[in-house]
C-alpha cells in the first residue's frame, strides 16, 4: 500500500485513516530551531465531510487513499440499488439509496454524472449541475399569473417533488439546479 511521509504532506493529498478516505485541506509545518518538527494537518472526510485535526512528527507517514473520479452513466434503478456504468470501461457499479442520497431526484436513465471510486469501489456520485425534468403532475396554475414568486408543488418524472412557479403546467419541461434543488426555468421542447 502506498504511503505518504511527512515530507510529502501538503494540501490536496488524499489519504486513508482507519480505512476512511480523507482530503488534506491544510498542512502547517512548525519546528523549534533545535527541536522536533511537527506537521499540523486538517483533514476532511471525503464522504461525511467532517473535519478533523491531526498532528504528525517528521518521519511519520499516512496511507495514501486510492481515490479516483470517473465519468459514469446512470442506467437504471432496481429497488434501492442504482446501477451506473463507467463510460470508459463499460464496467457497471451499484450504489445504494443511502450513498446516492438526494441525487435520486435528478437521475434520468442515460444521464451522465461523475462518480467517486475509493480503492476501486464506488462511494458516491454527483449529477450534472443542471438537469431538465418533465412535470408529471401538478395543480393547474391561476390563469394569467406569470409572477415567479407564487409557487406550488409539482411532481416530476423521477417521482420527486419540487417547488415551481405557479405558471408551470403538467407536461412542461423544467430546468433544475441539482446543487440547491431550485427551479431555474421552463425549457421548450
Amino acid at each position: 500500500m502506498a504511503t505518504y511521509n511527512t515530507s510529502q504532506f501538503r494540501k490536496g493529498l488524499k489519504v486513508q485513516l482507519d480505512g476512511d478516505p480523507y482530503l488534506m485541506i491544510e498542512c502547517n509545518f512548525v519546528k523549534p530551531g533545535k527541536g522536533q518538527a511537527l506537521y499540523k494537518c486538517r483533514l476532511r472526510h471525503l464522504l461525511r465531510n467532517t473535519v478533523i485535526d491531526r498532528t504528525y512528527k517528521s518521519g511519520d507517514s499516512i496511507e495514501a487513499a486510492d481515490v479516483e473520479e470517473i465519468d459514469a452513466q446512470y442506467l437504471y434503478r432496481q429497488g434501492d440499488q442504482f446501477v451506473f456504468m463507467n463510460v470508459q470501461t463499460y464496467e457497471q457499479y451499484e450504489l445504494t439509496l443511502d450513498q446516492i442520497d438526494d441525487a435520486w431526484k435528478y437521475l434520468k436513465e442515460g444521464m451522465n454524472c461523475s462518480m467517486l471510486l475509493f480503492n476501486g469501489n464506488p462511494i458516491t456520485m454527483t449529477p450534472p449541475n443542471h438537469v431538465v425534468l418533465r412535470v408529471e403532475y401538478c395543480e393547474p396554475g391561476a390563469k394569467g399569473n406569470t409572477a415567479s414568486n407564487v409557487t406550488k408543488p409539482v411532481k416530476v418524472e423521477t417521482g420527486a417533488e419540487m417547488t415551481c412557479p405557479s405558471f408551470v403546467e403538467m407536461g412542461d419541461l423544467i430546468k433544475v439546479d441539482t446543487r440547491t434543488g431550485d427551479y431555474i426555468e421552463r425549457v421548450k421542447e
Binding site: 493529498l13 523549534p32 530551531g33 527541536g35 522536533q36 511537527l38 471525503l46 518521519g59 442520497d101
Partner: protein
C-alpha cells in the same frame, strides 16, 4: 439534512477535480511554474535597508564581518537538523546548517568579535516560516557570557525592530506560567499530562518517554505563542537536555546557558554561552547520533576540525544565530517568508 449533505459532498468532488494527479505519481511537491518573485519591491527594498542597518550595528561595535565556506567536510550534529549532503570526487561535503563550526574555528585561532551574514541549509524545513535555504546572521564575541550575550541580542532586536529592548523570562518561569509545569523538576509523565490538560494536539508516534519531544511540543503549542507580544522576549536557562552547544551551569538545578529571542510568538534567534569542553562535545555528538539512529536518520561524522580547535582551547564566548528573513518578515508585518524573499523553495 439530506439536501444539505448533497451540496457539501459536491464541493468535495469539485476540490478533487481541481486537485492533483493520481496519488501514485505524487512523490515531490510540485514546482511553481511562475518565474516571478513572491515578494514585492517594497519588501525587497526593506530587506536591503535592514541588512545595511544590521551591518552598521555590528560595525559600530567593532565586529569584523567574516565569510566561511557553505560547503564543508564538517557539520553540526543535531538530532533535529538534517544537512544536505554533496559529493565531490569521492569526498563528502555538507551544506552548512549554520556557520557555527567554522566561526568557532576562527575564535580558537584568536578572532576578535566576528559576525557573518550567509545562507544556511536545512533539509525538509519548509513552511510559511521555514525555507530549506535561508539567510542567517551569526555572531561571536570572546569574553562574553550569558549576561553579555543577552544584552547584545536585546540591543540588536531594539535597533532592528524598534519595539523596545527585550524582556527576559526563564524557560522555567515561562513553562510554569503558560504550561503549568516546572520543566526542571517535572518527569515526562507530568509533561504528557500538561499537554493533555491543555488540549495540545499530539502526534500518536511521539514516544511517551521522549522528554525533549514533549518539551518541544509544549514550547510550540503553549509557551512560544505568548512570547514577544508587547516587546521582544528572551527565553533563557534551558533544561540541560536542550543545551545543544551551550555550556551547562552547575547550579543546584543545573541549566543550559542557552537563550532565544521571540517576537510575536516567533522564534528569531538562538544563542549560547558556548560550550568549550571538547570531551563534553564528543559525548553530546555521540548522544545526538544515537538519537538520530533511533529516529531512523543518517548518523553524521562525529570528529571535526571544531573538535581539534576545542582540544587546543576555545576561548569563552557567547554566540548567537538569527534568522534574517524572519526578522525582515516581522518588520514588514508579513506572515510568511515568501512575502519578503524573492524565490521560496517551490520557485527556487
Amino acid at each position: 439534512m439530506g439536501g444539505d449533505s448533497r451540496r457539501r459532498s459536491r464541493l468535495v468532488l469539485g476540490e478533487l477535480a481541481t486537485g492533483v494527479a493520481s496519488y501514485s505519481r505524487m512523490t515531490a511537491p510540485p514546482l511553481h511554474p511562475d518565474f516571478r518573485p513572491t515578494a514585492n519591491w517594497d519588501a525587497l527594498r526593506l530587506w536591503a535597508v535592514m541588512l545595511a542597518r544590521l551591518r552598521r550595528f555590528f560595525a559600530e561595535r567593532g565586529f569584523i564581518e567574516v565569510q566561511t565556506p557553505l560547503l564543508s567536510a564538517d557539520t553540526v550534529i543535531d538530532r533535529h537538523l538534517d544537512p544536505f549532503r554533496v559529493e565531490d570526487a569521492g569526498r563528502t561535503l555538507w551544506l552548512q546548517t549554520s556557520p557555527e563550526f567554522a566561526m568557532k574555528r576562527l575564535l580558537a585561532s584568536g578572532a576578535p568579535a566576528i559576525y557573518q551574514v550567509t545562507r544556511s541549509f536545512r533539509q525538509g524545513e519548509c513552511g510559511p516560516l521555514h525555507n530549506p535555504e535561508f539567510t542567517i546572521v551569526e555572531w561571536y564575541r570572546p569574553g562574553d557570557g550569558l549576561e553579555e550575550g543577552m544584552i547584545l541580542l536585546s540591543d540588536l532586536a531594539e535597533a532592528m525592530l524598534g519595539r523596545g529592548p527585550a524582556e527576559r523570562v526563564s524557560y522555567r518561569d515561562a513553562f510554569i506560567l503558560h504550561a503549568g509545569v516546572d520543566p526542571l523538576a517535572a518527569d515526562v509523565a507530568s509533561l504528557r499530562r500538561a499537554a493533555a490538560e491543555h488540549g495540545v494536539a499530539t502526534p500518536e508516534s511521539l514516544d511517551a518517554l521522549d522528554r525533549d519531544g514533549w518539551f518541544d511540543l509544549l514550547l510550540v503549542g503553549l509557551v512560544a505563542p505568548h512570547l514577544g507580544r508587547t516587546q521582544p522576549t528572551i527565553l533563557f536557562d534551558y533544561p540541560p537536555s536542550q543545551a545543544a552547544l551551550a555550556r551547562v551551569r552547575p547550579d543546584t538545578q543545573p541549566v543550559a546557558e542557552r537563550f532565544e529571542l521571540f517576537v510575536d510568538g516567533i522564534e528569531l534567534a538562538n544563542g549560547y554561552h558556548e560550550l568549550t569542553d571538547a570531551a563534553e562535545l564528543r559525548r553530546r555528538n555521540a548522544e545526538a547520533n544515537h538519537r538520530r539512529e533511533q529516529d531512523g536518520k543518517m548518523p553524521l561524522p562525529e570528529e571535526s576540525r571544531l573538535l581539534a580547535a576545542m582540544d587546543r582551547g576555545l576561548p569563552s564566548a557567547a554566540g548567537v544565530a538569527l534568522g534574517f528573513d524572519r526578522l525582515v518578515m516581522l518588520a514588514a508585518g508579513a506572515k510568511t517568508l515568501a512575502a519578503v524573499t524573492p524565490f521560496p523553495w517551490d520557485r527556487a
